[in-house]
Assembly symmetry: C2
Homo-oligomer: 210 residues x 2
């Protein structure tokens, strides 16, 4: 049984997409053992109640230093013996103490085709604003493992999405979620649960199913 | 009748894709009035003979300065009254005297999804090497207007292409040509010939056909 811990800051729509695929058995032998938010009132914590998933708030302001916070978060996931940590709209930058404790075991989704429109400053709507300002015709989403850099880790899956002429950042954000994020994030977790993702030379290989 | 001038350095496979679509009338009311190579032995100059297209070699080494070369090239196209200049694997960097003489009238194709894997140093196989080294899963091609920067002009069309696990730069280059370049370059020229491409605020709008 794969044990997943999830980090959220907001509504948790990607979390919902993943829960749906666990519930309908597309993703097998997998359990979300905890959802941790840095905000007490994140709607994601409401969302999980009906699934009997443990929700918890661990927030930086409850700790003296960023390092104390990081270690508390790390130790919580270590105590739960999680196999995989999934970032689902988590807006806190994770320190290297955390990342190094879970090498190639932290997944993130970024709402563009990395290496375009990623790195410092590109998060949330800013990504889609950047896409529209440049007049790009194809954007998408990327699931990747988290390393010490920002959006620099091994890429697991990507899916392109068309930009349309009258798109606002909000409209484009929604299309990228529906057509790409909610498709490839559960898919990446399914592949991980099936033991089909390996990382070699900082690159992901996906093994065929048996 | 749209009058096109083409600049090439090598085989001219993109040129061939465009000629094919003019010959089969997908692109209407369009004539290639000259193909100019910076290399005497470019195969593209052979390729065009059977279509009765004028071929010419204008090369930097025949001129005292880069500026003299640029002005000769510019004046040649001005004398032919070209409406559009198409770069089809042209490996000379065009100076601003040339670019400014044909604002939003020079098209280029780049073998990636701009702004990924573009700019200085990214041309030919180097683009596909970069894609493979980063472990990206989706690449593609971009048709854009040429401005004074490198790959910074308004984007006209883009098409994504899947990167496969055992791709070499050569294999990937071929797939990007077949699945994207030879599709979107003729398509962009067709839209241009139909008067359906407008540039506003440095961004391309494509008008619906009437």
């Amino acid at each position: 049984m794969l044990r997943i811990g999830v980090l959220v800051s907001g509504g948790g729509t990607n979390l919902q997409a993943i829960i749906d695929k666990i519930e309908d058995k597309t993703i097998k032998n997998t359990q979300i053992v905890a959802v941790v938010s840095n905000k007490q009132n994140a709607y994601a914590l409401e969302r999980i109640k009906k699934y009997n998933i443990e929700g918890k708030c661990i927030k930086p302001s409850d700790y003296l230093t960023k390092k104390d916070f990081t270690l508390a978060l790390r130790d919580y996931f270590l105590s739960l013996e999680v196999d995989l940590i999934v970032l689902a709209g988590y807006l806190v930058v994770l320190s290297e103490e955390f990342v190094q404790a879970f090498p190639n075991k932290i997944m993130n989704i970024h709402p563009s085709l990395i290496p375009a429109f990623c790195g410092n400053g590109f998060y949330g709507l800013r990504v889609h604003k950047g896409v529209i300002e440049r007049g790009v015709k194809i954007t998408g989403a990327t699931v990747h493992f988290v390393d010490e850099g920002t959006d620099t880790g091994p890429i697991i899956l990507q899916k392109p999405v068309e930009v349309k002429e009258n798109d606002t950042p909000e409209i484009l954000q929604r299309r990228v979620m529906e057509e790409a994020e909610w498709v490839i994030y559960p898919e990446a977790i399914r592949l991980y649960a099936e033991g089909r993702i390996i990382v070699e030379n900082n690159k992901v290989k996906i093994l065929d199913s048996i």
